[in-house]
């Protein structure tokens, strides 16, 4: 039950029993979560991993095109958004990027005086300045640790200033310290959207499909999803990245909310159903050929496109399955004795649900899964994966680089999928490549979604087993970040406190 009268959402810990420290069998994890015995534990050694504000709500909200983001914080909390004038600009206009493109944000730059006397006047000034400078349709106000601890009444300021500006003001309660679970940030953002921006009582658009895109899905993924939906007479409504404010306003008019990352979208999906009657589904996401089929079929059920979708799937499979078979054959030939290539990867819960089955599809296997955090929102889906591929080890940790370095050595997979947030884990004797590209990457090579992406990503992974020079050289020529004993003991969660 989502309560839009409340100032903000509950934390993921409260709403869904979320944790970010666990190492064990996936089946036990699901069991403990079902029984309600799963508890989070503190670490005595911890590494910087992103907070509610800065993983990476700022860099998402700033991409909303006709809005202004105001970060009510000291100057460092928004420095991640310095990339705002470039984030999508490398995408060529010929690939469909709108030319009308200008993003804006302000910091209230809270200083020593403000933490004593309060920063409400500055916030009021920033809102008016935003209106005067940019005439935006919406102004998002992002809270911070500092605004939270000094007890800033952001909603009070909003109530007072709202009738003086044309823009709709959307406060987002994303104080960095409010939760251990970075996914709380998504919920806090969607709460603001549902409460302030989504319009009631507007005509339904039966061909509109809401899709919340993560920053790990690229421009080509959008193009592929658009292509597929268009072929059956549907239109995607991609939010929040690169969207206009109007695209949020019409969320309640859509026929269905479809997942790319289910736990990212969860709060929005539930809220849209509860408040606006838009149905949603959580599984699967359009990664891999089989899952793309199922994703499209599910959307078709909500939009009355059952016939059209079967034609589409048949035609697409004819084109792409032979290419997939080439990839499968290549992977099958890599190791002697018909052993499967092992790939260690995944990031969010969403990627656990997409990647493990995708690896099955291309004929490789995962020795274990790593996920940022875990909650009870997708238990059936995780159980489904276990049923499909068998039980597997899971490490739940939010970008703990030492633990990632440890588990990568321990399982020693043929390919480790890493990202800039996984520290030194890429330095190794065997394969290492990136887990995904980012939203501004417009290259065909970087696609992962839909049929095209399934093939592109398969070929991409094949490249990673063909040369290991970079990671091997770095392993040999640079000292390890951690002491040797770390790798000699067996537990990646060595520093987990035993009590809750």
């Amino acid at each position: 039950m989502i309560d839009l009268k409340a100032q903000t959402c509950p934390n993921r810990e409260q709403r869904a029993g979320a944790i970010n420290a666990y190492y064990g069998k996936a089946s036990d994890l699901v069991k403990e979560a079902r029984e309600g015995t799963l508890t989070n534990k503190e670490r005595d050694f911890q590494q910087s991993s992103g907070c509610v504000l800065n993983f990476y709500l700022t860099t998402r909200v700033v991409t909303i095109r006709d809005a202004v983001m105001i970060v009510h914080a000291p100057v460092g909390c928004s420095s991640t958004s310095l990339l705002y004038r470039e984030v999508y600009r490398r995408i060529p206009l010929s690939e469909g990027r709108p030319a009308d493109f200008d993003l804006h944000w302000l910091t209230t730059n809270l200083d020593e005086k403000d933490v004593v006397y309060g920063g409400a006047d500055k916030l009021r000034f920033a809102i008016k300045e935003a209106e005067e400078r940019y005439s935006p349709k919406a102004i998002f106000i992002l809270a911070s640790c500092t605004s939270g601890i000094i007890g800033e009444d952001i909603d009070g300021v909003v109530a007072e200033v709202q009738n003086e500006v044309n823009a709709t003001i959307v406060p987002v309660h994303c104080e960095g310290i409010r939760s251990r679970i970075i996914q709380t940030a998504y919920d806090a953002f969607w709460h603001g959207i549902l409460k302030h921006l989504v319009k009631k009582d507007i005509p339904k658009q039966p061909d509109l499909v809401n899709i919340a895109s993560m920053l790990s899905y690229t421009w080509q993924d959008r193009l592929e999803i658009t292509r597929l939906l268009n072929r059956i007479g549907l239109r995607p409504n991609f939010i929040p990245e690169f969207a206009t404010v109007e695209q949020f306003e019409i969320l309640g008019a859509a026929a269905v909310t479809a997942p790319i990352c289910p736990t990212y979208t969860d709060y929005l999906s539930r809220g849209l159903e509860q408040e606006f009657g838009v149905p949603y589904f959580m599984y699967p996401s359009p990664v891999g050929i089989d899952h793309t089929d199922e994703w499209l079929r599910t959307i078709a059920r909500y939009t009355g496109k059952e016939k059209e979708v079967e034609v589409l799937i048949r035609e697409e499979r004819e084109k792409w399955v032979p290419k997939m078979e080439v990839i499968q054959n290549e992977f099958a030939k890599i190791k002697p004795n018909g052993e499967k290539v092992e790939i260690l990867g995944s990031l969010g819960q969403g990627r656990l649900l997409t990647q493990v089955p995708y690896f099955e599809e291309i004929g490789v296997k995962s020795p274990a899964a790593i996920i940022q955090d875990f909650d009870n929102l997708v238990l059936d889906e995780v159980q489904g994966i276990i049923d499909q591929v068998g039980d597997f080890d899971v490490l739940v940790n939010t970008f703990q680089a030492a633990e990632l370095a440890h588990i990568t050595r321990k399982y020693d997979p043929d390919v480790a999928l890493t990202c800039p947030f996984q520290g030194s884990a890429y330095k190794r004797e065997k394969g290492a490549t990136r887990i995904h590209a980012l939203r501004g990457d417009a290259r065909q090579w970087s696609a992962q979604a839909g049929y095209k992406g399934a093939i592109a990503y398969g070929n991409f992974l094949l490249q990673s087993v063909k040369n290991k020079a970079f990671q091997k050289t770095m392993l040999a020529k640079t000292p390890d970040t951690y002491q040797d004993w770390w790798y000699k003991q067996p537990d990646p969660l060595h520093y987990l406190k035993k009590e809750a």
Partner: protein, 448 residues
Amino acid sequence: MGTVTPLRTKEEPLYPGVAEAPRYSCALGGAYMATLATFGAVPILHSGAGCGMAQNFGQNFAAGLNDAGPQGNTSTPCSCLVEEHAVFGGEDKLRALIKSTIELVRGDLFAVISGCVPALIGDDVAAVVKEFRKDVPIIHVNTAGFLGNSYKGYEQFLEAVIDQLLEPLPAVRRQVNLLGIVPFQHVFWKGDLQAIKTLLEKIGLKVNMIFTENNGLEALRSIPAAELNLVFSPWSGVGVARKLEEKFGTPYAVIPSVPVGPKDTTAFLRFLARRLRLRRSSVEKVIAAEEHRAYRFSEYMAAISTMALPNAYTAIVADAGTAIGLTRYGSNELGWLPEIVIITDNPPEEFHAEIVRRLTEGLESAVKPEVYFEIDSHKIRLLLREHTVQLILASSLEKHIAVDELNAMQVSVAFPVYDRLIVDRTYAGYRGGLALMEDVAYKYGGPL
């Protein structure tokens, strides 16, 4: 939206701190980056969980697509404070973290950097750090995001080093420390430090770059042994140099910028020769050889310079030190016309007059730049629109604006830089000017 209201910059904004995209992070960010730039130093953040990771896109990646190094970003130990610590205090969490970090992470020096949360809740961080002093070299940088920007944090790191780590040493003749080049904020920091060191070694100096020295702890500890501290910025690092003078009696010299190109580099070497009483003839020998090579090589770029940007009106949007170096090189060696300079590193008022003087005096160009001090990227955009220029040396925030709105070439040379990798690149010294021209001509080059 697509357009920006063409407002004239307001004369006196009510809250000058409220700004679009100021070009730095916070004091914690600056102290953190300075620690990471000290090889062998391990930062320990006592802060919310995002304070280290956020500096990835916000500091090191913004400094020419750089990693932060083996202890940076998600590899940085952090107490990851949440609400319950804000209520009950974070000291126990920090104590456990320091202990485990010393066990697990390889390093010679540990730097506990405290952020907004402990500052607001009143944790006694110094007392916790003190417990570990008998075991390892450890310092506490008592900062907070709301105390200032990255430049402030850089100074706070060095001040903590001075107060908590350094002991007096006898001054070693001809030994100098390089100060004022702020890691990552000054996007060419690594290349600049090395270029200056290599150059000064040629005239017989012993040079301590501090940052990127192989043994960071030893480099820090030998700071008091310098005969002279050199500050390569008109303002940033001056406070540190003053503190070193007070505490160890080391005199300092403020060099207003990293010297770019032969003329300023020669002037810099002659200044040092006088100041450090070096043998004039051997310094002149170095100067003659370096100048010969630099100018003989300049012959290779004469044609492209004349074709691409003869007497170009230029705009420079950068930190004060970078702006001074590039303005002088462009004006005094390449024949450019410096039309407008916008200083983005927010120097304190007391330094403004000197910065303006450095940017407007001693220029061969008949055009002297209008100089603005502005942190607000929106206002910077509006200021640029009031000028007609052919070349913009700026941050990558100006990249698309230059092409779409100003019809000018742009090269990213100042923070933030998200459109090029800068690892060892430098515009410092005799060959620096040529490197700048290489980058500028890359934007122009193609079949003629």
